[in-house]
């Protein structure tokens, strides 16, 4: 009780302000808009009748396929986590088109040393491995925690933390939806150049800034699209690690979630 209570607007004040706000805007004349709506609706006939019942079989099979894929990913990931007790984000860098969802792997226990020494690298192993430590999300302040899910059916499947050589800490969260994977990263580096430098270090992957729009940084990391932005004191990145998202899709995910 040492801090005074912040002057949070009362809920009634918010309600009243919203009412004022929405009812003080004068829209274009309703009649003209209504006529256009009617005309558009008339183009396609009656509009309020229930559509033909959807094909239950088709929807059912699609859902089952998605569910099965998700279960396989969760099962394989969970098995490896239980087996090894620690984590690594790994990726192939031979070419952008070689990326698959399975490039995000949970490393084998014995591989940890091998990554540092160059030993024990099987042919199928990725070209680099980045060691990450498990993280207790509840230890983070609420505003710094990754979302529990992303719109569009992405589930949070993995979280970890890693520090750069200079001690800057990155929090990572992996979101999966069937074969699609997105990596969310966060760190408290205010300077953009330092942030991208640390990013390249932490991911051990070449990155290229391809554009900046209104504070949103567009990047290619390992040939895959990523968006980075600043949210108050934190910098965040959303990387299409599976290479399955379109640019519009990634913008939509950003707009819908952050």
């Amino acid at each position: 009780m040492t801090n005074k209570q912040p002057r949070l607007p009362e809920e009634e004040l918010i309600r009243e302000a919203l009412h004022h706000e929405l009812h003080s805007i004068t829209p274009p004349p309703a009649d003209a808009v209504w006529q256009r709506i009617r005309a558009r609706l008339a183009e396609n006939g009656p509009v309020s009748s229930p559509a033909a019942p959807p094909s239950r079989r088709r929807i059912s099979w699609r859902r089952m396929a998605v569910l099965a894929a998700a279960l396989i990913i969760v099962f394989l990931g969970g098995r490896e986590i239980l087996r090894t007790g620690h984590f690594a984000v790994t990726e192939r860098l031979k070419g952008p088109l070689n990326y698959t969802d399975t490039d995000v792997l949970i490393s084998e226990a014995g591989k940890e040393a091998g990554d540092d020494t160059g030993e024990q690298t099987p042919e199928s192993a990725p070209h680099f491995g980045v060691q990450w430590e498990p993280i207790d999300l509840t230890a983070l302040p609420a505003h710094a925690r990754p979302p529990e899910e992303l719109s569009g059916g992405y589930s949070l499947t993995w979280t970890a933390v890693r520090q750069t050589a200079s001690g800057e800490s990155f929090t990572a969260a992996l979101y999966s939806r069937a074969a699609d994977s997105l990596l969310w990263l966060q760190c408290a580096i205010p300077d953009e150049a330092r942030f991208t430098g640390a990013l390249a270090e932490i991911l051990e992957t070449p990155l290229e800034i391809t554009g900046t729009e209104a504070g949103l940084l567009r990047l290619h990391i390992g040939g895959r699209l990523a968006l980075a932005w600043q949210d108050e004191d934190l910098r965040r990145l959303l990387w299409d690690i599976s290479g399955t998202a379109t640019e519009n899709g990634l913008y939509e995910l950003y707009n819908g979630n952050f």
Binding site: L13, I14, A17, L22, P27, A142, S151, G215, Y251
Partner: protein, 190 residues
Amino acid sequence: MEREQVEALVKQNDDVARRALFEAYYQRTFGVVYQITRSRESAEDLTQDAFIKAFRSLHQLRERDKFGAWLAVIATNLARNHLKRERRLFFSDDLTRFESDSGDAEAEVMRDLEIEKVRQAVRALPPDQYQVVILQYYYDLKIEDIAAMLQISAGTVKSRLFRARQKLARILEPNFAEHTLPIKGGGDGR
């Protein structure tokens, strides 16, 4: 009233009911969209599209007394997608930080000033946070209902509300950074 109009529309394709719904929600829907797009021209087109989309898929609305909120979801989603297509981001760095009023003005004047401050602060919210604030505080939806309408988890709704309240408080309270914002009605804020 709202429920009856929606049911009349679904069952009989009643143009009078459709017009009544349009009249009832046109201004506030335009207002919500304008708030996000900041363009009258875009807001007019998107409002029109929102009504058309709503009327065409009205049979999907299960809780028919929530047409307004459902329409607001459609409209705000269209507005957010419009911003995405335009590659425009919501700017919030030009906000005015209000100083506290400490004079002896009448209570009503003070109330009006407070409301104006909140209006300004709400305008500065990012679209996703603005969307949940509208649904909770204007349409009085519960968190679970908002989650269902937006097809996101209740946790995500709480998280957005938490961040929205944080931003509102930060704008309205210059010394906010020194304090911890209490969470109201949103669980633990996640």
